[in-house]
Amino acid sequence: MIELDRVSKRIGEAVIVDEVSLGIAEGELCVLIGSSGAGKSTVLKMINRLIPLSAGSIRFAGTDVTHIPPEDLRRRMGYVIQSIGLFPHWTIARNIGTVPELLGWPAARIGARVDELLSLLKLDPASFRGKYPHQLSIGQQQRVGVARALAADPDVLLMDEPFGALDPLVREELQDEILRLHRDSHKTILFVTHDMDEALKLATRIALMDRGRLVQAGTPAELLAAPATPFVRDFVGGRDRGIKLLLVERVTQHMRAGTDREGEPIAADATLHQALSQMVSQGVDRLAVVDGEGRVIGTLHLADIVRR
């Protein structure tokens, strides 16, 4: 969907982005991560041409982005930023309808889409449609920000540290929303953050940057299990690497057939982290694994968690 080929950005003498090559496939939730100043926001903003490239090329759905008029390009991508940026003088409904209005959708269609998106993001359309941004909490505002980005059903969603300004509880809720959205719509999402736990939770693929360079790209498990450099190893988990690996692996991947069990069963799609936590709190070393309907489909042993 998006291909970056040796993309660089220089400002004067400083090299902000250094020959980054990355491919983002359709349907991926790719997290671009690195410490502050690593250049990840810059890469994102070069994709929707908010910042011009110094060198290299970026292709979107096969076409070079510099061959697409910038406004048209941005209308085909959703853009969510940390400071949210809702238009304070427009109602929530009008905010969400920004791009559809630009694209000339009929009013009825825009209204329906606004209600659809508000429901999707767990905001009651009737009460939120006519409110103004300053009347909403920050968490609600960012939900509207996401809704606005999705309004015209873009091919790609670009998110630049969208949950950085939210408190931990709200952040977790919205992370779950994004996961659910991605699972249901299979949209391509490019997500920038500096929070490793957030990346491990959301990503199907992680691209780690350091001082402008792409250091390693791969699935969360790959980065945890096979870090390319000491920097990757330390950034991704350091001494907690083992525990973090448990975050990204599912019970189904390690269960065995059989009927030994003790205590409460564990869901098949739970993470090993949750399974271990349950074993510890119940004081058992094996759990029954159940599917969505509650039927037992296997067992998980503590030994299988550790010996992987």
Binding site: R74, S83, G85, P88, H89
Partner: protein
């Protein structure tokens, strides 16, 4: 029902009503002025009708504020765009120095250059009105939060679209504030403009000062003051209207 009772207490409507009544009824107050100033031969200004003077005063102020508004807002927008950023320092210097120049001086300089009458007054008022309007436009556009501008760009609005749909509406209260300042100053300067032959509500005042006729002075002063207050309240109402979303 609620709207009707609020209208009764609306200061703007009251001030307009008082002004209009004062203009209409001033001639009827002749006996009052005769009684207050028995030594005056002519206790009431009768060379022009107060209504005509008020109208020409409003016209002069309105035309000059409109002209200054168009040029000033355009200049303010230009100077805050990337293309015009180079010129911003010089424009702000000119504004700072311009605000040290009393409006009456602009009038006094314009006359020997252009002649007597309404033209030098119009030009002087328009020129002087540019200052608060450009200043207000620059300041107003500066109140737009950076996050909002960035989000607008990222959404795919064109630069013109961002200016028209996002920046200007958000900047409007301060821009109208600049228009208000320019207009109220111009009302005062236009009153003095009667010294250069532009008929305004200042004419009774100036003629009264020259001829030691205190009654003339008071009549002109009351009407000029009432008009200024009504205009000021009207602008205040407009500014409040541009901010309705804030009080939702």
């Amino acid at each position: 029902m609620k709207n009707r009772s609020r209208a009764w207490r609306d200061p703007l409507l009251w001030s307009i009503a008082v002004f209009v009544l004062a203009v209409a009824l001033m001639p009827a107050a002749k006996p009052l002025f005769a009684a207050l100033f028995p030594s005056l031969e002519r206790p009431l200004y009768e060379q022009d009708s107060f209504a005509a003077l008020a109208l020409s005063h409003l016209l002069l102020v309105g035309a000059s504020s409109a002209a200054a508004g168009i040029i000033g807002i355009a200049a303010g927008i230009f100077v805050t765009r990337p293309a015009g950023a180079e010129f911003r320092d010089i424009v702000e210097t000119l504004i700072a120095i311009g605000q040290c120049i009393p409006p009456v001086a602009v009038l006094a300089i314009a006359v020997p250059l252009i002649g007597f009458g309404g033209e030098p007054a119009f030009i002087a008022l328009a020129l002087y009105g540019l200052l608060p309007i450009v200043h207000g436009t620059i300041a107003g556009l500066g109140t737009v939060p950076a996050a909002v501008a960035e989000a607008a760009r990222g959404t795919g609005l064109s630069p013109g679209g961002i200016l028209w749909r996002v920046e200007l509406p958000l900047a409007l209260p301060v821009i109208v504030g600049g228009l208000r300042t320019a207009t109220i100053i111009n009302v005062g300067t236009a009153a003095i403009a009667s010294t250069v032959g532009a008929p305004t509500l200042g004419s009774p005042i100036i003629i009264g000062l020259n001829g030691n006729n205190v009654a003339y002075v008071i009549q002109g002063a009351i009407l000029a003051g009432l008009m200024a207050i009504a205009l000021d309240l009207a602008f205040g109402r407009v500014i409040a209207l541009t901010q309705r979303w804030k009080t939702a």
